[in-house]
Subunit: 254 residues, 2 copies
């Protein structure tokens, strides 16, 4: 009898499995897709034809690729987010003031999603890009947000996404994380000592709504060699918190 009442639509799911695989492989042919996903060639083919006719996929010769329509989708939804509109200039200002890399993160489905980033003169080259998803527990940005979420939501997220270690400094223990979050609430900003990428320090402040619930976070990150002493303790934190503050104000009044 399988699973009682599963309202989920299989055809749609295989379509997206195909799209994800196409993205991962950066283009592929029918046969390769079919074998990788363990579906008949004809099924893969039908889905690809459907996607192409609706202009979500392009076909160069014999290989199919993900099309740019998704860029339209993504850009469109991002542009309609108020926090993006408001925060972008502040993130750019942060990058310029510090010379480092500045980021904006929001939460979705229990994961962090980078909305935008700006590079200062000295900014490190790291792997982050707009749209990228990360676990919340292993970034300063994520911890800043977790610190300002209802307790039940936090444990719901941690249950679902776990506390996988990424580097040697990643917090993998629930109690330790809880202490960390308390400290963040106390001092107003979060620090990340290479918890996702070793050697990269990150200072992040939450952006909260009127009920003090996080709707996002902004950060400045740079190499440990530069992020230390007075700069790490007061200078950058103050800039980041003030940026978050400006964003909060502009979110309320407009």
């Amino acid at each position: 009898m399988a699973t009682k009442h599963d309202v989920t639509i299989d055809a749609t799911e295989t379509t997206f499995r195909i799209l994800e695989m196409l993205k991962e492989l950066d283009g592929a042919g029918v046969t390769e897709l079919a074998t990788r996903l363990d579906i008949p060639k004809s099924t893969a083919h039908n889905h690809l034809v459907t996607l192409r006719e609706n202009e979500y996929v392009v076909k160069h010769g014999t290989t199919y690729r993900v099309g740019l329509q998704f860029l339209e989708f993504g850009e469109h939804t991002r542009n309609r987010m108020k926090i993006y509109d408001v925060a972008r200039p502040e993130v750019e200002a942060l990058a310029e003031q510090t010379g480092e890399l500045a980021n904006l993160l929001v939460e979705e489905h229990g994961l962090g999603v980078y909305l935008c980033r700006a590079r200062g003169d000295q900014a490190v080259r790291v792997d982050t890009y707009a749209g990228m998803r990360v676990h919340l527990h292993c970034t300063g940005l994520g911890k800043a947000m977790l610190a300002h979420m209802p307790e039940e939501r936090v444990s719901e997220i941690l249950d679902r996404r776990g506390l996988e270690p990424r580097t040697e400094t990643t917090v993998t223990d629930r109690d330790t994380l809880e202490e960390d979050l308390a400290a963040i609430r106390e001092r107003g900003y979060a620090i990340d000592h290479g918890e996702r990428l070793s050697g990269l320090r990150c200072i992040a402040a939450p952006v909260t709504d009127d009920d003090d619930v996080a709707v996002g976070a902004v950060s400045v990150s740079g190499p440990s060699s530069r992020m230390k002493g007075e700069r790490l303790e007061t200078e950058v934190p103050e800039l980041v918190m003030s940026a978050a503050n400006v964003i909060e104000l502009n979110m309320s009044y407009s």
Copy 2:
């Protein structure tokens, strides 16, 4: 017997119809979607549940919205395009040199897709954004590309997409367009006298591959008041063409 052999998958198509509608409405409830798309509530609901479980859609209270996963998709595919990598710095340089708005366009499914843009100090505020799709015949960028495409491909595109007028200066006649394209080939760049947006002039140069087929185009656009005389005739065209040239070279060798 309906339509002989239609391999297209209906479920997938309704899923995307829902997504498009969600995008258009900037979020909606089950009932609203169902009535707008003329499908049963339960159908809409099932699709939405599927989309949410796969994290393509978010649900705030009673309204569903398009999620940020598509941003990931779009950004990812854009970043993997060589022309984007190569052209972005050149587009930024163009914006700085001219103080105006600079753009990069590619073609997909017979439409132009903006890949990136950069704003100079004086840059006008227009509606273009990355991922946006436009008809090729009514922009300088599009005409620059059409001028360097196989004849059959051009007529295929025009047949499919038509020559809809957007402003009073839009070229709507096939022969006139053909003359226009010949002139573009001759002089090396395209001019757009407010053919998509009145008052906006645009100078665009094609980026071609080794076979002289367009793979994209770059442009500078500004208000007619500033784009005239020497600047319109030689200064900006030279900058744009030289940028296109640099991009072509960097595309071949790397």
